[in-house]
Symmetry: C2
Subunit: 419 residues, 2 copies
């Protein structure tokens, strides 16, 4: 009466899903809206940086050779023939022992090859002319930011697939990207299943719980770079489920259902997948939580049947859906950022399955530490709020002790891992 399912290892499950992950579409947005998106093409320099030799300070541009004999005892005097601000260009020719008053960012006058900062000069007027004197010598190139010393025209500065942070935003502006080609946000359709689910605004009733998964997954979808579309609750009826899923499938890039994937009497999803003609990639994984996670594909479109239990649902999203989304966003590092941390407390429970323990990673004196948040029962929603990492404990291991170095996958790191 109970269907028997064969669990597959979690890494194998991820690989099966990722075979169907492919790059998504691109769209063009104004620079003002580019922050937080992902580059759909390499960001290239359209000019040298600096674009011309320029002054990094407020001071005087001079011909260095004129300063050769300057000393404390024998200051050398320069006639100040012109003043240029940033954005201005010198108009006069600079002759021997002449100088141009120059502001930060302004282009070095043609005949000059050094800048003397205000602070080391003595400026004065005489007979209606302005002079300044210096008490030390300068070499050609002193205090000049040279054209192209930061970046050469044509250089690739940021690669396709990169998250657009404030620094990338500044680069886009610098190189004239008034419009930016970014990855289109994948559309994720979401259905919740389960007649025990109440809407958030409904009062509690016997046997019922509020629907938290739909809201959680919408937030996870946004965090991973996608646009969630919540289609509401599926009825506990196979025909209605089928009709609802078939109706929306073409509108979304990915479809997620939560609940209904167990082998309980009211778990209709296996039937739905069959009726849709979808290929079930797996329906049981050797992991906790989330062992009943089911993934199917139809014409290359992925259908994720995540567990109805909040923690399993959360982990299922991060493990299976996120890397697909990030691949659509052109990332070459679509997986959660994987590293290690020192366990802060004993974790004695042995388990035959790979465990993903909701945890908090912190840093101290150059070391990363990890501690599980809350008890690790799979029906506990509170621990998700405090988790910034999943601690990954391989199956078949005995418990772990305080001080052990364990694997952690960071949930809030934009960087990601390549595998």
């Amino acid at each position: 009466m109970v269907e028997k399912r064969t669990p597959i290892p979690v890494m194998e499950a991820i690989q099966k899903v990722m075979k169907f992950a492919k790059e998504g579409e691109a769209e063009v947005v104004p620079l003002e809206e580019a922050y937080g998106r992902y580059l759909a093409e390499n960001l290239q320099a359209d000019h040298d940086v600096p674009p011309f030799d320029r002054s990094p300070y407020d001071g005087f541009a001079i011909r260095a050779a004129d300063s050769a004999l300057a000393s404390l005892e024998h200051p050398i005097e320069f006639e100040v023939i012109e003043t240029i601000g940033a954005g201005q260009v010198a108009t006069k020719e600079v002759g021997p022992f002449q100088a141009v008053r120059i502001m930060t960012g302004a282009q070095i006058p043609n005949d000059c090859d050094a800048v003397v900062m205000f602070e080391v000069t003595n400026e004065y007027e005489r007979d209606g002319k302005t002079y300044m004197s210096i008490k030390r010598s300068f070499r050609p190139g002193d205090n000049i930011s040279f054209q192209g010393e930061d970046t050469k025209k044509g250089e690739v500065l940021v690669e396709k697939g990169t998250f657009i942070n404030p620094g990338v935003q500044a680069l886009l502006a610098t190189f004239g990207y008034a419009k930016v080609k970014v990855a289109k946000k994948p559309k994720i359709g979401i259905f919740a299943t389960g007649s025990e689910l109440l809407d958030v605004s409904e009062p509690l009733a016997p046997g019922k719980i509020r629907n938290s998964n739909a809201y959680m997954i919408q937030a996870q979808a946004i965090r991973s770079g996608a646009t969630p579309v919540y289609f509401g609750k599926l009825a506990d009826d196979a025909d209605q489920c089928f009709a609802a899923i078939e109706r929306v499938l073409h509108e979304v890039d990915i479809l997620i259902t939560t609940g209904g994937v167990s082998v309980g009497d009211y778990d209709y999803l296996p039937v739905i997948y069959e009726r849709l003609g979808a290929e079930v990639l797996f329906n049981k994984i050797a992991m906790r939580p989330g062992s009943v996670t089911t993934v199917a594909q139809i014409d290359g479109k992925l259908l994720f049947g995540l567990s109805g239990n909040p923690s399993a649902c959360y982990v299922g999203y991060e493990l299976f859906v996120r890397p697909v989304i990030r691949t659509m966003l052109y990332s070459s590092k679509p997986y959660l950022y994987k590293t290690k941390a020192t366990l802060l407390s004993d974790f004695p429970k042995p388990n035959p399955f790979t465990r993903f323990v909701r945890s908090y990673v912190s840093a101290k004196e150059g070391q990363l530490y990890v501690s599980p948040v809350g008890m690790d029962k799979s029906n506990i929603v509170t621990s998700l709020a405090k988790a910034n990492a999943l601690m990954v404990l391989p199956g078949g291991t005995r418990g772990f002790a305080k001080g052990d170095l364990v694997d952690v996958w960071l949930l809030e790191n934009e960087k990601g891992s390549a595998q």
Copy 2:
């Protein structure tokens, strides 16, 4: 001719600014829009979790006492009198050697005190009735998730000022927050100054550079939780600057200008602050980059005069503006997350001032490592794109060597530090 300014230590400058930081306003948003915002009140449980004793598995609810004598040799048979799914409540009284077929999440029937998972039962029919048998005994409480074992009604689960991540979003749904009281996003007005600045869509011209700071700060403002309002470029004219700033000041919570704060001939901001009647908190800091960062206040409203140089502008925002914003968002940890990391390469430059070096922090085998990104000239914008941290090197130190443990302030960590 050149104004003399006295630099103050960076931590003192931050403290001077933070004296004017205060909690902002709150607003109510639908739960769907709460992700990414900051809680304006504590999140409390409005009911026990679980709200009733419930089954964590698909199986049979029984009276544990009835199973006492079950063994491999002597299976004990139960009559299955009813089936309940999640959200349903048992309607029949359960007598001796009777059982209820129960799905994950369903409420435990009144008379039952244990759940037997499908996997360890043998289910069959006889004479039109359904039976199951078990070959081991169960104790009262076996396989039951008890009411309130996760969370008690009234408990504070997440504190005011917390970033609403997907886990917090799930909690809000669970506890019926259909509308969520969140911190209103502070409004940050932004002006760029400098006649050398071209708009992003303009072609390059001699002596000119494109305006990248305005876009960068808008992105930094969003990242820190605020709403940027870009007012465009200020003219290089004191009267026009004054008029423009006076006109918008009442529309924003904070005003940022970039550029115009040096002691160059075209740096009008000191004059503007004076005309506005603003109190200048400081106009020179013993730090690199960003030494000319100026902050003023008028009637408690902060005016930040950030440097026009992109790196100095970036660092100035993160050091001085961000903690003010986070305080307005009710955070008790408004500063960048501060920790330490091992230096991956020599950094030999000595410097009398505290340096904030744009850096990349990575993790390996439980350790944090840091390396500077790009050369650290203050006019280099490219390094900002790759930085996820500021390496903080105290003033008065000689160079640092590979392997040294140095301070790092993380730019992309939601958690923050209390000081």
